[in-house]
Structures are given as C-alpha cells and as structure tokens.
Amino acid sequence: MKWREDGSKAWSILWGVLPVFLILGLILGGMTGVAWSDNSLCLGCHQDESLKKQDARGKSIPLFVAEAGFKNSVHGKLSCSDCHTRIKDDKHAEGGKAVDKKVNCATCHEEAEKEYLQGLHSKMIMKGIERAANCYDCHGKHNILPSKNPKSMTHVSNIEKTCDRCHSDVGFVKQHGLGEALPKDEFKKSVHGKTGEVTCTNCHGSHSQRSLIDPKSTIFRSNIPQTCGVCHPDITKQFVGSVHGVLAARGRADSPTCTTCHGFHGIKAKVDPDSPVNERRIALTTCPQCHAAERISKEYKITTTPVKSYYDSFHGLSYRGGDTLSAHCASCHGVHDILPSSDPKSMIHKDNLQKTCGTCHPGASENFAKGKMHAVVSITGEEFGEKAVGWVRVIYIILIVAVIGGLTFFNFTDWLRKTIDRRH
C-alpha cells in the first residue's frame, strides 16, 4: 500500500546524498572564507543558554543549541549551514541574504516532504493553523535521532507520546474541534496499546496522515478494512465478502466497518467485558445499534423485528439474563462473514440452517430449519405458527382475565360480607 511507506526509504536516501552535501558544504565554506563546516563558530554564540531573540510578534524564542544533543543526533556530522542556509538577521549579515529561508528538510528528505505535503498537517499549516505539526514537531530539531533508536521521538515506543503532546492536550483538542476525544486515554487501555508494537502511525500513517474525510486516508470509512487488514488479513478477507463489507466498500455510510463494532482507539480484546464485541454485548448493543434502529431499517428495507423477536425468544430471554451458553446474533449469523440468507454460503441459508442449529442442538432434525425464525406472535401474522401462537395468547389472556377476575371478584365479595358481619 502506497501510504504504508514509512520513513525508512527516506533515510536511505539521506545516507546516499549526505556525502554530497558535506562536500558541497565544504566548498561553500571555503568560498565565503568562513569555516562553516566547522560548527564551532555557530556554537560559540548558540551555546549560551540565555541566548534569545524576539520574533515579529514579540514572542521570545530561545536560540540555545545543545552541542552534545546535536553531536549525537543523526545529523551530528552536518554543518549548521547545511540546514540553516540563509539567516536574515543583523548579526548574521555577513552570510545573510534578503530572503529569510526557514530550515527546509526537503532539501534532503524529498520523499518525506512529498508525503507530508499530501497530509493533513501540512494542509493545516497552509491554512495558517499555528500548532499544526511541522517536521521538527515530531522529529525534534537539533537532536533528531533515527527512528530505530529507542530514544527517538519517532521510535515506535515514543510515537504515542509525540502525538499526544498535541492530540491529548485538552486545550488543543477543543480549539481545533477534534471532538473532545483524547485518544491517549482510550488507546492506553486498548488491546493494541498494550502490545507496545502498534502505535498511532500504524493506522493513521506517518508523513502522509490524512483527514478522516479524505478518501485517500487510511482511516477513511471504506479504507478501514484494508488498514486493519495489514495486521488482520484473514479477517479483512472474510469481511470484504460479507454483506456488510460489500456495502461498506460501496460507500454506504450506514454499513458497518471494523470500527463500527470494535471501536477505534479503545479496541479491546473480545474477552474483555468492556469490549463492544464481548459476547455479553453482541446482542444487546453491537448488532442492535443498527438492526434495532428505525432510521437504518427503514432505509435498507430490513426490519427491527429480528431483534425484538430474539429478545422474546428463549435464546434472547436467557441471554439477557446472562446465559453465556445461549445463542446470540453471531451464533447463527456468523461474525465477520455475515451473509444474507439468500446466499447459499450463508450460515442461515435454508440448506445450511439445520447444520447451524445442530452446532448447539446435536441431532437437530430438518424441522429446526422450517418455519420462520424471527417469528412475531400475532393473530394477523404471516405464518401459521405466528398465528397459532397468537391465538393461544389471545385465548389465554381472555381465560386469565376471566378466571382470575372471577376469582378475585368472588373473594372480594366473600371478604366484604365477612368483614361486614364482623362489624356487629
């Protein structure tokens, strides 16, 4: 996948072009007569911790550069001027030109810059949002370390911290309308967060991370199965063939993708009772969130009756009481590979139903598969069974009202008479 390319390629390019720039730096240094290749000249001033300047808005900017940090960084062998090509400033008048050119990482890291320019952070910068991440926000400035180094800001164990500096900052999240959600809290507790191997960039991409509404984004609705499929290929394969997967791929916003059922930052293991796909929740919240929703059922010509009738069935009643052995939605319909009953491969296709029931009811006869499954009891029902049960209900309710009403009436008169008799 194109967006999955991480920085490693960019680094190799860096190593390729680095010597060229070193030589170039030496030549340039020689031409101007100042030893630019030797950073001692710069550090002579910039090692002063109190060195500051004021920017156009009057904000104080520290100009201190820690020599040790720089020397140990991946760029430790570069000269200051390799990155700080032009500095317009009275003090640097000698080397300065009319243009104030900011440090441009793209000089070397072309590929990364290209990806970055397509990403959301660069677009936000272009819109003038100050706190959108620049290269140095994530990679650091003078102390950049290769991402394989455990101390690096972009090492897999630190990426979360790096992103969280802004994205779990309540003020930042509020100011930028990111919906109050702090991914940090959720992700820490998630099954992915606990592994320590999966981090923000695995799903969001790194340089090219895009907005949720960008169709090229890894987290765009219809791309989510592919994003998850990088690590869970078998499940994605099942899902894309399912009734949900097909609709999701076609852009149906109501059709679930992975995150609809599993959650996103806070994905938990199935066995975790807090997981939305915990077997105790499947038939209470997970499936009914759509299949008991009038809005969706009307639109897709499905009904909410399966959920209602399930709740009234033995399976549903026992399940709601906490029976873990009782069948829930997924027991019969499948999980990622749910197919409509018209599909011969479906677990609930009429030819497979006997086998599906037989999983729990060994020796299930073909009568198990006959008749309406999610029957709704009503004397006006479509099916004979529905009507029969409907009539049983009507007759019994009349019987109960008549008998119990009669008995109550009789006893009441009896009590009344005896009470009145006792008055004397």
Partner: protein, 281 residues
C-alpha cells in the same frame, strides 16, 4: 382444649410442603427467564452461571413435581384414605349450588344469609384441586416438549414447539395468579382464618373452621362418633381410623414375588407407615 379435627395426615402435609416448595421454586426460576431483566431476577443473573443453574433447577423442580404427582396418584389409588379423598373430590351439583348460594350470601341477595353446610371438600377446594391437576398435566406436557426440543422436532413442526412455549408461559401465569388469589385467600386472607390456617402444619382444623367450611362433614363425623366425642388424635382419620386396610395379609404372603403394581403399593404403604409412625426426632 378445643376439639381438633384431622384435616391432613403427616403424609399429606409432606406432599403439600413438597408441592409448595417445588411450585414456588418453579415460579421463581420460570419467571426469572421470562422477565430476565427484572430487578428481582438480579440475584440469579448476577451469579456466575446463574441462568444455566436457573434452568437446571427449573427442570429439577419440574421432575420433582411430576414424581410428586405420580406419588399422589398412587396414594389416591392404594390407600383407603387416598381413595376417600379422591371420592370426596368429585364435583357435583351441590358444589355449584354452594357456590351460587355463597355468592348470593356475599352479595346480600340472600337475606338473612343462608347457612350452608358444605362437605369434606367444599367447592373452593374442589375447584382448586381440579385446577391443580389440570395445571400439572398441562405444565408437564408442555414442559417436556420444551425440554426435549430436539426429540420433539423429529416428529412435529417448529410451530408446535412455539405453541407449547406460549401455553407453558400463560398457564404458569394463570396457575401463579390462582394460587395467590384463590389459595392464599382461602388459607390466609379469609377473615375466618386470618392470619393463617394452621392445617398445613398441625394437620388439624378447629371446630369453628369445620362449621364454617365443612358443616356437612362435621355432622357426619359427629354422627359417626355417636355422640361420644373424643379427641381426634392424628392417627385416627375422619373416616373411622382404618387407614391402610387393603389385603394386608395377602400382600405379605406374596411378598416380593407379587405383581409389580403390588410391590409399588407396598413401597407406598411402607412409606406411609414410616411417616405415620414418625414421632419427631
């Protein structure tokens, strides 16, 4: 000391307690499924495997009730007292008249109220007893259909199972409400018996209770004792003290070789004897 009239032998009281416990457990464990989200079910649903154990207990109590019913049938066939009960339970025209007159008394249509003399089992008790038999049969049949679903569906279509399920539920509602409305009125809330009729524990009714509810029976007993009223001890039945009389000697002769139904009778009888002779610990 007030005179006591034996109403239930120890055996019958045991049957009654057995039924009461099983019935209560069946009601609780049954409606715990139908209303599994109700607040009072939470002790069951919160317990680990609560719902599974609930189902197990429900079936266990169901089986126990069926066995109790079977025992009761044997009791009614093979003991004289049982046969007497069965005979006296047969409803007749008098019961309908009693009911009608009671209603008229209650509504003050009969002024002054007519004094009703009712037999050993009055219409209230007959109604309840016959209702209990009917309910037990219905619940047993539908219960076994629900339990042995796979076997049932070998021969019958799915809708029959659904019907059985509906009947099992509504019959349960009917039975429970009947017990609460009818039985509990008779033995608890009836102003004549309130706070409770003690017959289910002591086995006896007082003379006043006999007069109120079983006037005819009282007359009969008094006539039988020919004016010499004695204290009715527990072992002496209202019928005259002969409880277990059928071919006692003959059965002992035949011993184990006898027909299986006789042997069964022997078991029932010896159980009865044991209970009868039981003097407490």
């Amino acid at each position: 000391m007030t005179k006591k009239y034996l109403r239930m032998t120890l055996n019958e009281r045991m049957q009654h307690i057995n039924l009461a416990v099983n019935f209560t457990l069946l009601v609780i464990t049954g409606f715990a499924l139908s209303y599994s989200t109700a607040f009072w079910v939470s002790p069951i649903t919160d317990a680990p495997l609560g719902m599974t154990l609930r189902g197990f207990l429900h079936r266990l109590c169901g089986v126990a009730t069926v066995f109790l019913g079977g025992y009761h049938i044997l009791y009614c066939i093979f003991t004289e007292r049982g046969r007497g009960i069965a005979k006296d339970m047969i409803p007749g025209l008098k019961d309908a008249k009693d009911l009608w007159e009671t209603l008229k008394n209650n509504l003050f249509i009969n002024r002054p109220a007519k004094l009703l003399k009712m037999p050993r089992f009055n219409f209230r008790e007959k109604l309840e007893y016959l209702g209990l038999i009917w309910g037990t049969i219905v619940m047993t049949v539908t219960g076994f259909i629900l339990w042995f679903k796979t076997e049932w569906l070998q021969f019958f279509p799915m809708w029959t199972w659904d019907v059985a399920r509906a009947i099992h539920f509504y019959e349960a509602v009917l039975a429970t409400l009947t017990i609460i409305v009818w039985h509990f009125y008779s033995v608890i809330f009836n102003p004549d018996t309130y706070p409770m009729s003690w017959a289910w524990i002591t086995g006896n009714l007082t003379e006043h209770e006999m007069e109120e509810e079983h006037g005819l029976e009282l007359e009969k007993i008094k006539a039988q004792s020919k004016g010499e009223l004695k204290e009715f001890s527990e072992a002496v039945t209202a019928g005259g003290g002969r409880v277990y009389t059928i071919r006692r000697g003959k059965l002992e002769e035949e011993g184990e070789k006898g027909a299986s139904i006789r042997r069964l009778y022997g078991i029932v009888r010896s159980f009865n004897e044991t209970i009868k002779n039981w003097k407490g610990t």
